[in-house]
Symmetry: C2
């Protein structure tokens, strides 16, 4: 049985600070201070999937485009982040994060606001009145590889991020993520297991039609390499509103489960460092 | 042998005019005054494909969004339109359009600037340095049906316009258009003829990756119904710049031919009334 654990955490700087350009670093530092969570996120063996959001302020994620601007936070400003992990077992009692944390980016007061624990099988976003609104709240990276059919060796395909959200890329990615964290009985299978993400992607491109959007490409800083050179990635932010058409109830349920997963873990590459955060409405 | 005939025409109002909300109506009216062209565009039997652009002024197409604004042109203002037709035979000598034309929208001086005649097999847009820039200069309507595999009966699929350009939709559409106007020997066939547009679409989604864009959805007026109610359609305008990756020379040539076709006939639905005009760079 796969459990999904999510937590919402407030972070309040104790003095004015300059945040790292990749603000999820602060979140990761704070999480690693707690022994149990630290062990969990420090060891790939203990979890199947991990997403950490950037810090947010007033509901907006803080991330750096390559424009030389620094990210600042003021003393007493309420910052916020979430993390989500998929795991097969969890010891609830030691999710103790509250208190002062001294990081290399400054001193913060940390407060665990909420913790959610769900079974994977219960994850679902109900689609109301055939409308789905996806808000890509931190830069999102969708690889062109998500829709390469399994018969082609993926390594032969040069990987690039697509800068426009395409239903097939989104749902193929989510189906793959779902099955990678699911136990055998929890998996989503349409025909052949290996082909399932591809099939679901194909259906998504016919079932979801945009009825409005506002999108822009964005280049985001994702850290530094060993020579202290800035590493960046190109993705997009914005929102798309879809109408759901041409879908039978069985596939509708699948899409609803996958959208539920997107709410928790986000969409696309580099979710462990804050990219691909989405709101599903 | 399929011939592609394109013409560029200047239209100068002889007094201040209010244009119809669907400005391609003026173009169509002018064309129908010439006996040969009139017969050509009046009879579906004589051509395989016809695109007529909206009027443009200073390089911008004139079309009406549903915002109540009127489209005006001033006396002496140089307006412009193009029309393209695919046909199996053409008599060049009577492409005589120059002179005064009195329409129900006002009086215009008309000047045929250029006429191009090409064989379909010579149509091609050379892709330079792996970059393609598509400018959707009039509202473009891409149907979700373009990528429904032939095995599914298309009539079962509810038709909706996708509001985001997706390489698969674009190239599947263009392959279908190409083969509908081509003689048997000129056709593009990848494997099975019926599946070719679908295959080409699939390859396009892996071969074309966006590297920049600016797009917005737009609701455009496309005429009036029998009860004089305004008819409108929802599509998009803007530009997308692609990098072409993962493509072997044989497919590259196919994409170049299809992009050449897009330059002439545009992309998507309602090209006969001015929608889907694209610039390929």
């Amino acid at each position: 049985m796969t459990l999904i654990v999510s937590a919402e955490i407030d972070v309040i700087p104790k003095h004015d600070v300059i945040l790292p350009l990749l603000t999820s670093k602060v979140a990761k530092f704070i999480l690693s201070k707690n022994q149990q969570i630290g062990e969990l996120i420090g060891s790939k063996k203990k979890y199947k999937e991990l997403s950490i959001s950037p810090l947010s302020s007033n509901g907006r994620f803080l991330y750096a485009e390559n424009d030389g601007k620094l990210l600042r936070a003021m003393r007493g400003e309420k910052l916020h982040f979430t993390f989500s992990v998929a795991t097969s077992e969890v010891n609830e009692k030691t999710f103790d994060l509250d208190g002062d944390v001294s990081t290399s980016y400054g001193e913060f007061y940390v407060l665990l606001k909420t913790i959610y624990i769900n079974q994977l099988k219960d994850i679902r976003h109900e689609i109301k009145e055939r409308n789905v609104n996806l808000r890509f709240e931190s830069p999102t990276l969708l690889s062109n590889k998500y829709m390469v059919p399994p018969v082609f060796k993926k390594k032969k395909v040069r990987s690039m991020n697509r800068l426009i959200p395409q239903p097939s890329l989104i749902f193929s990615f989510l189906a793959n993520l779902w099955n990678s964290i699911a136990d055998e009985r929890e998996r989503i299978v349409k025909g052949d297991l290996e082909w399932t993400p591809y099939y679901i992607g194909r259906i998504a491109d016919v079932a979801f039609a945009e009825i409005g959007y506002s999108l822009r490409p964005v280049t985001v800083i994702i850290g530094k390499d060993n020579n202290q050179r800035i590493r960046q990635a190109r993705g997009f932010v914005g929102w798309v509103k879809y109408e759901v058409i041409n879908v039978n109830p069985r596939y509708l349920e699948t899409f609803e489960r996958l959208l539920g997963l997107a709410k928790i873990f986000g969409i696309g590459r580099s979710r462990g460092i804050g990219l691909g955060r989405v709101k599903v409405e």
